[in-house]
Subunit: 145 residues, 2 copies
DNA sequence: CAATAAATATAGCCTTGGCATCATTCATTG
DNA sequence: CAATGAATGATGCCAAGGCTATATTTATTG
């Protein structure tokens, strides 16, 4: 028999799907923090550790550690006892994330998901929404309106 | 001023959204393994560590550790050098996960996402799809067909 | 039925993202 | 301008989920 691999038409899960999902998940936390910092700066003029932690629902040490990672990745900057700032790259990421989040929430609401639930689900789903899927969401919203 | 909290109408992210997403994420790995074990048993008659690891795109020790957790959580059972089995609870979970996965993929395809992308995105998204959102997906599919 | 190959198990290490606790610095305000 | 309370920082702990490397067991086959 020439073929031992599962037929392409079958659903016998390729490992790439899982590693891809794992990679997306690894970005998720950073995306959330970056967006939160951006929100806080817009709302309050500054992003303080205490506020970040409170809104993320974690303790300060956890927030501090996350921000340390953002700094390592070149997305944020901060000096002791001062607030946190986003770098150019951080701001750009925040904008993309914010826009995507909005589309996902709007889309869910548009297909009949209650507002609160849409917010809940979007928070986790958004990190796994590819550009292609995002375009499909947008297309649906355009058509519907 | 009587109110210091952000108005309910605003989007000032409640911490619950994030902790909820984190909780969902904590379940995600177990859901994936349980579904994979179920798939392998259906396809090959047994679920061996090597196959699980290969399909999940991880090394065997990683798969072994994940299965140890499933056992601790009462979702799977296994004896040394024998395959892995699902408990009653494990099988039920696998069925729910499989059904949800199918709906998410079908839904994405229905709104115009390419098959391959739908599979990719669904793999990450599905774990954050609530019952309410799942119902909305199903409703859309019914209407569309 | 012994030798070898393939699976499985075990151990140890790393990173991430949680936590609690304690020390330090900042900022009010008495 | 000192004292106190609130933020921040530092340290150390834990579990999960990756990995490599090294036993050990099982299965196959010469």
């Amino acid at each position: 028999m020439p073929s031992n691999e599962p037929k392409t038409s079958e659903d016998a899960q390729l490992p790439e799907r899982f590693s891809h999902a794992r990679a997306a998940q690894a970005m998720a936390v950073m995306e959330d923090y970056v967006e939160m910092i951006s929100d806080l700066m817009a709302e309050l003029g500054e992003a303080r550790i205490a506020d970040i932690a409170q809104r993320m629902g974690v303790t300060h040490p956890t927030a501090t550690k996350a921000i340390a990672r953002l700094k390592r990745e070149g997305l944020a900057s901060s000096r002791p006892y001062r607030g946190v700032f986003l770098t150019e790259r951080g701001s750009e990421l925040a904008e993309r994330v914010r826009a995507r989040h909005r589309v996902v929430v709007d889309f869910l609401v548009a297909i009949g998901v209650p507002d609160e639930t849409a917010e809940m689900d979007a928070e986790g789903m958004e990190h796994h929404v590819s550009d292609a899927t995002l375009r499909a969401f947008k297309a649906y919203l355009r058509k519907k309106r």
